[in-house]
Amino acid sequence: MTVPTPSQTVGPFFGFAMPFEGDAHAVAPGSDGAIRIEGHVLDGAGEPVPDAVLEISEGDQFARCATDREGAFHFTVRKAPHFDVLVFARGLLRHLATRLYLPDADLDGDPFLQMVETERRRTLIASASEGGLRFDIHLQGDQETVFFQL
């Protein structure tokens, strides 16, 4: 009775249904404390994943962005030490969960990061780039992003 309903892939055809107006902006671009985060979703061959949709959240902030043909996504959020990020895609039978840290967050004192092998922690930390932050998500491969068990 209370067995959770299992997950299935979001498939390739969500692009007419899941996006909504202004979906990638948790706060208005240019508003107080707003930062732009951009990146790519890449598969195990290093190829872009053009049929993924990402959700980012922290407190009252929520945004959603589908990747484009180059696997690129972007968000506008109000600055916080870290954000929860969920990844849905064709080929993912269940979504993935990761966390994005700002490079100037208290990384040494963070209990989540202490649970992650030292050499893989960098996959969770966004880097400063022109006009904001960069955060790539590698689903697989040498640079595979750290994902958390749901």
């Binding site: 209370t2 067995v3 979001v10 692009g15």
Partner: protein, 227 residues
């Protein structure tokens, strides 16, 4: 949690797209109170209009196909109703074609059907959509591969761990035993959880057949309820 778990694996070679997209490193386990039990995303910015739950009334005319009512309850892991949570659905039309430009299946589009809907669960955790039964369609996963008729569902729920994106199938579909996506769930009891039941009581005479499908989300509603 000690509940049985029927989740599919990330890597399932029969579904080819998992090969380069499933993570190969072990997922990091975090304490539930740190992560899973955090409040779910604040989805309030997603617009939900009353007419979004009737997919047969989004255009000038009526869509072709078998009109159906799709309803059920959304419950948490304690079996309590999840109230006011966002339910999003999307599907192919009766001919098995999605409006999405990515879909190249040479079946007709229906000018009176988009195939996307949203609603919030009511005070008893109930969602309800009116739509048409989607058609099966081919995909290129393996020779002569066809997806069984299905409706995509996306739900939020009370906690971060409650987030669910899945697919609902129709009872008696002969394509079900052949579908690698559904069969990625190894246990037949898990697969059955994704198949709706024909519901004669909810069927509206001279109007629409009805299917009932209840959804159980992980996690628990932290707010005490009076019932």
């Amino acid at each position: 949690m000690t509940e049985p778990d029927f989740e599919p694996p990330y890597l399932f070679p029969d579904y080819r797209a998992t090969l380069l997209r499933a993570p190969r490193r072990e997922l990091v386990h975090l304490p539930e109170e740190w992560f899973h039990r955090r409040s779910g995303p604040a989805f309030g910015r997603v617009p939900v209009k009353a007419e979004d739950s009737d997919l047969t009334r989004q255009h000038r005319g009526e869509p072709l196909g078998e009109r159906i009512i799709l309803t059920g309850r959304v419950l948490d892991s304690d079996g309590r109703p999840v109230r006011g949570t966002l339910v999003e659905v999307w599907q192919a039309n009766a001919a098995g074609r999605y409006v999405d430009p990515v879909d190249t299946h040479p079946a007709p589009l229906d000018p009176n059907f988009t195939g996307a809907g949203r609603c919030l669960t009511d005070g008893e955790g109930i969602y309800r959509f009116v739509t048409v039964k989607p058609g099966a369609y081919p995909w290129r996963n393996h020779p002569n591969a066809w997806r069984p008729a299905h409706v995509h569902f996306s739900l939020f729920g009370p906690q971060l761990a409650s987030r669910l994106v899945t697919q609902m199938y129709f009872p008696g579909d002969p394509l079900i035993p052949l579908d690698p996506i559904l069969n990625s769930i190894a246990d037949a009891r898990g697969r059955d959880l994704l198949v709706a039941k024909f519901d004669p009581q909810t069927t509206e005479p001279e109007w629409a057949l009805a299917y009932r499908w209840d959804i159980i989300l992980r996690g628990r509603d932290a707010t005490p309820s009076e019932s």
